[in-house]
């Protein structure tokens, strides 16, 4: 296997962090991006951020000292992971459309 599927949460977090953002910003951004469908819970988000930092796919920005909120941003490695995932998702979607005849419920 070339690479593994990301979870929906991780995918949307990486996508959000193409711009620097703090935790609550990510939650709001993901909710907006998904039209209110994906609501990341704070505990789940914390776990994902910790794992992403460990992997080196995102990095914590050392902002102003007085600001309590930590900002995060995607790394070069994280961008590659995101590109691979977008390719994978495109494959899924194209196969779905091709073999299942579109996406309409009817």
């Amino acid at each position: 296997m070339a690479y593994q599927a990301l979870t929906e949460a991780v995918y949307y977090i990486l996508l959000s962090l193409t711009e620097p953002m703090h935790g609550y910003g990510i939650m709001q951004n993901v909710e907006n991006l998904s039209g209110g469908r994906v609501r990341l819970a704070a505990g789940t988000l914390y776990g994902a951020i910790s794992s992403l930092l460990e992997k080196g796919w995102i990095t914590a920005l050392s902002g102003e000292k007085d600001s309590r909120k930590k900002e995060y941003q995607i790394t070069a490695e994280g961008r590659l992971v995101l590109l691979d995932e977008i390719a994978r998702l495109t494959e899924l979607l194209e196969n779905g459309k091709k073999l299942f005849g579109g996406t309409d419920r009817a």
């Binding site: 979870t7 929906e8 949460a9 703090h22 935790g23 609550y24 939650m27 609501r39 990341l40 819970a41 704070a42 505990g43 789940t44 988000l45 914390y46 776990g47 309590r68 909120k69």
Partner: protein, 179 residues
């Protein structure tokens, strides 16, 4: 005005406890402190807050837990109480829905922490109960029969453990299909 309520929940009844605290909050009584089985509430507007409970990996004063709690607070919630490794959060209902977990994996991690706690307590009860009972059989001192108490508790903990494992099994099955 403050109101104190004494109520007992076993460690595996955290869902029930959380539900009760939310029912109290809906009636206008929001938790401000919790100690063993003593719950203290303050009067707030009915439904102003939502409550969530979590069992942490480490004591709330541990630096790792402090970082975690700070992160949760940055998302608009606030810690209201802690008891041993349990923390109690509240968030204003007006600020949107409040959940700590939004995927199966993080729910399972929380259940694993509860399983770890119940197992540790259960083993301690078995050891202390077994030790005292063996003293009774050795020396026949009736006071050693006090060992029956921890043994009874370990049976209860075992029942709780089975309930949590059942919840976990259901989630693990779901995980074959969903995130």
């Amino acid at each position: 005005m403050r109101k104190t309520v004494y109520k007992w929940f076993w460690a595996w009844e955290f869902d029930k406890e959380e539900k009760w605290l939310n029912e109290m909050a809906a009636k206008g009584l929001t938790l401000v402190s919790m100690h063993f089985f003593k719950y203290m509430f303050e009067e707030t507007d009915p439904g102003k807050y939502q409550i969530r409970i979590e069992l942490l990996d480490k004591h709330p004063n541990h630096p790792e837990s402090e970082t975690y709690i700070r992160f949760i607070e940055e998302t608009g919630a606030e810690q209201i109480a802690s008891w041993v490794d349990w923390v109690y959060f509240r968030k204003k209902t007006a600020d949107g829905p409040f959940e700590l977990f939004s995927d199966i994996a993080s729910r399972i991690r929380m259940l694993n922490r509860v399983i770890g706690l119940l197992t540790t307590l259960g083993i301690l009860c078995l050891i202390s109960g077994g030790y005292n009972l063996s003293l009774y059989f050795l020396w026949g001192n009736p006071i050693s029969l006090v060992g029956l108490l921890p043994l009874a508790v370990s049976v209860l903990l075992g029942i709780g453990l089975l309930q949590i494992r059942k919840q976990k099994k259901k989630l693990t099955k779901d995980q074959n299909l969903f995130e």
